[in-house]
Symmetry: C2
Subunit: 595 residues, 2 copies
Amino acid sequence: MHTSIATVSLSGSLTEKLTAAARAGFDGVEIFENDLLASPLSPEEIRARCADLGLRIDLYQPMRDIEAVPQEVFASNLRRARHKFDLMRRLGADTVLVCSSVSPLALDYDGLAAQQLVQLSEMAAEFDIRVAYEALAWGRYVNTYDHAWRIVEAAGHPALGICLDSFHILARGSDPRGVAEIPGEKIFFLQLADAPLPAMDVLQWSRHHRCFPGQGGFDVAGLVRLVLAAGYRGPLSLEVFNDVHRQADAGSTAVDAHRSLLLLQEAVGTAELPPPVVPTGVAFAELLTADAEPVAAVLAALGFTRTARHRGKPVDLWEHGEARILVNTAADRREGTRLAAIGLASADPAAAARRAQALHAPVLPRRRAPEDALLDAVAAPDGTELFLLAAEEPQLHAWRGDFADLQDTPESACGTRVDHLALTQPWHHFDEATLFHRGVLGLDAQESVDLADPYGLRRSRAVANADGSVRIALTVGAAPADETVHAAHIALATDDVVAAARSFRAAGGRLLRVPGNYYDDLAARFTFAEGELEAYRELGILYDRDAGGTFRHCYTETVGRVFFELVQRDPGHHGYGAANAPVRLAAQHAGRLLR
Amino acid sequence: MHTSIATVSLSGSLTEKLTAAARAGFDGVEIFENDLLASPLSPEEIRARCADLGLRIDLYQPMRDIEAVPQEVFASNLRRARHKFDLMRRLGADTVLVCSSVSPLALDYDGLAAQQLVQLSEMAAEFDIRVAYEALAWGRYVNTYDHAWRIVEAAGHPALGICLDSFHILARGSDPRGVAEIPGEKIFFLQLADAPLPAMDVLQWSRHHRCFPGQGGFDVAGLVRLVLAAGYRGPLSLEVFNDVHRQADAGSTAVDAHRSLLLLQEAVGTAELPPPVVPTGVAFAELLTADAEPVAAVLAALGFTRTARHRGKPVDLWEHGEARILVNTAADRREGTRLAAIGLASADPAAAARRAQALHAPVLPRRRAPEDALLDAVAAPDGTELFLLAAEEPQLHAWRGDFADLQDTPESACGTRVDHLALTQPWHHFDEATLFHRGVLGLDAQESVDLADPYGLRRSRAVANADGSVRIALTVGAAPADETVHAAHIALATDDVVAAARSFRAAGGRLLRVPGNYYDDLAARFTFAEGELEAYRELGILYDRDAGGTFRHCYTETVGRVFFELVQRDPGHHGYGAANAPVRLAAQHAGRLLR
């Protein structure tokens, strides 16, 4: 039989995946949409590459959240579908996978699903495309293959058939014998996967995935309160079976563990800690480098001005609006440029440091030189130095007194300030880092999200204060990190990312090049003002939108182990562009910059 | 409050764990039994170490499968308990964790459970020990804390209380408010752990843990048969979301993927492959080294004789009984000694090679020199060369003709032959290796088991032919492997492991030293003939027993990346000593050899 493989099943760039599939003897591929979006090849070039390799494009996938929705939503879905059918024609793909809706807008109404799938199939037929409808095991209303088949049968359209996926059928424990009732010609596609059984029972969960209190989803504190209320006076003891801790350094795991018990005791009231002093802003970010020249060039292009120099150390202060970056050239040449320290504005630095110390954060030497200001500083688990700096006058910028002015700070431009800092964590210590930032600094943690790097999955979790003036994104990957791609980065907020990006380029800065396929997809998903999308395409600006507003962002070249991001964030948007991360990471791996 | 941590929560040796816990500020520890067994420190030395570090031993754990069993089983359980209470007295631990039974022998009878727990607590009280009874979330009959409490309350013994564990309570979704009904003084211990929620839903299962057909637990072939019977004639397409494949080399993943589809098609009858020719024995194992001296010394001590030398290559044949080992000195000096090739006896080597080739196994050059015998050889995914050799006369030992005799093969001693070969796999390719050995060679795979290496979990899965004359254990770890510990090894079967071990030592061979705590535990678990256990203790022989019989084994020092195991296996025993692996691996990490 004709054999095929979905590109999502393989690691790497789309061209690497296609080559590997062809060499292994596959006859065709399913093109996974995200792989296409992240590829610099146009649809025509991908089609030609497949033809050269002797691969047929058997399927384009997935098209999501199409059916059983209110009519105005469906109108926009059809518009999106037309874009994709056009893309498929360019690609030479004749079958599209439509998976059952998971949208909260979807209605539990098979008649509507069938009717809208007929409309979709009518349009598909104009492009000589077939629609293969698949029940996702977690579909909102349609989640079994027999349900999907009832809808397809009721629709009765020649361009509409069913896609069967062994995972979705067998993972649900559906009786597969019902397949016999489906006419073979209406089974448009068959996707195969196996999976280990049992996926995860409570025994596996317990043996491999326990974590320290505050790092998971249990209300451990609530339970401890009940146990204490019952009169228990014995030890609080941690018993955590965890595959990661089995490999990690025992010393730092033990510190992480004990910190979690201290925070738990604070929560249940059996121990008192100095209360958290939540930082109120990012005073500065400090880059450590042996050679200031490359990073200075990027900073200058970004609009930063070198305004001051430390009186006793080889440290320059660069300012742009409210964003301040220290460039410290005391690094060993082999280290490369890296983000070494963060200055956090605090209503009470000494109290914040006392809490950090009580929670096992190493307190760092507080003074760089005898004549320097006294600074409270602690080390985060990843080694980043956190300086705790007075935010109130007259102490405001006490640290600034250690610097001699070189020239006046220019006027604030475009509201530039630090939007967020992104720090790559050593993978054994991701949960520790999150608990540290929550427990020690009093920041709130968002849910963690998966980011599909082409060479391995990464996890990201952001911590922030309530007004978003301090945001830190922590990321980690199971794979050894490519330090130029998985570098730390500094995201600068601006009121106008298009203007900021143009100005950066005009000053000689180089921005990350984003594939054209990405912008074709944006055009299918959103409507834009005249010229808006063209500007994004020209400048490599990525775009995301949710109920809270839009998020526009672009990336600079990487210097050593640091790069910069320009961000235009609507006040109600609290994301970090996770949806765009696969495209961004692929472009960074490929090292593609705008010319 | 007094804070404590179970040693199982940390990585490393017991002494590393204790040091880390003390440094982080813990007041006490739970000693996890396996950590004690793997430690070279005696209970008294552990007690002293804890005292020096300011750690109290708050708990000894776990005691398993004690209660609600038939009386004769309980008598043996009490005997085991007495050993452990004695150990705890030496250790200075006053509370033992008894977790609810998971044994198939357990009865659903709370009255019996209470009665036997009273008997156990009576005995514990003699040692001034308290028994903390805990409901495991997967206990056979007792799996909720309120059920465990009803039993403890009914038992009404002062030395018997309950142990509460946040994981077991919250993972089951039990209402924790029932804790209020338990008198505080009857809560003997509180164990804390958090866990991510949801542990694993079908969406997570699908996105991260799919695998290729034949590598999981689904009946994918059964489904495909139904789909074909329905008349489907489209592609067979793989759609596999898998975190490991996302990181692995796309080329080898694609080969693995295509092989799985070929085997699937063979299973459903849409493709024909040359049928499998199951190997019937291990003809030889070949070691590649730059310096034959160290390995030759070990082989000689094991009783091997150098019987022949290859006519054209720097390869010696060593024989002992039916075990044959080739020592090839053509290695680059930097490579170190490694297990490079396996000779498998086959009823039809050419047919076996045809199947291997059809399943993408690289076929290796079949002839070492023009005058050498024609050999069929393929490469396994880990690079091990598999020679397929005629097992029938007159071709038997055709390969042997390439060797010139040096001296006669000595008489077979103690039935020595190769019991099994253990190969460490690159971690991205573990499932591929299993499918290769099953699909290409026609071997059967056992269930995979977890092995707790002190520095990270490992997985092991054995493949074997029906009569056990070919057994290969494949192991993999998530952590980078320590190549001296996670070396390949050759296990030699003997009829008398005590005699073989003695003879090896007498000849100057060095065996792995096994901690005394391990033998104290054996004494608690099994009864031995007079002098039997003492012999094991003297020689570092490990012991396992199941319904199929006993398995006795010991390990030699490691040479480069190879070591040897001596095995005495009852015919009905099909294991590989997995239960002893944590102790063995810890001893190998520590590099402890018998003097």
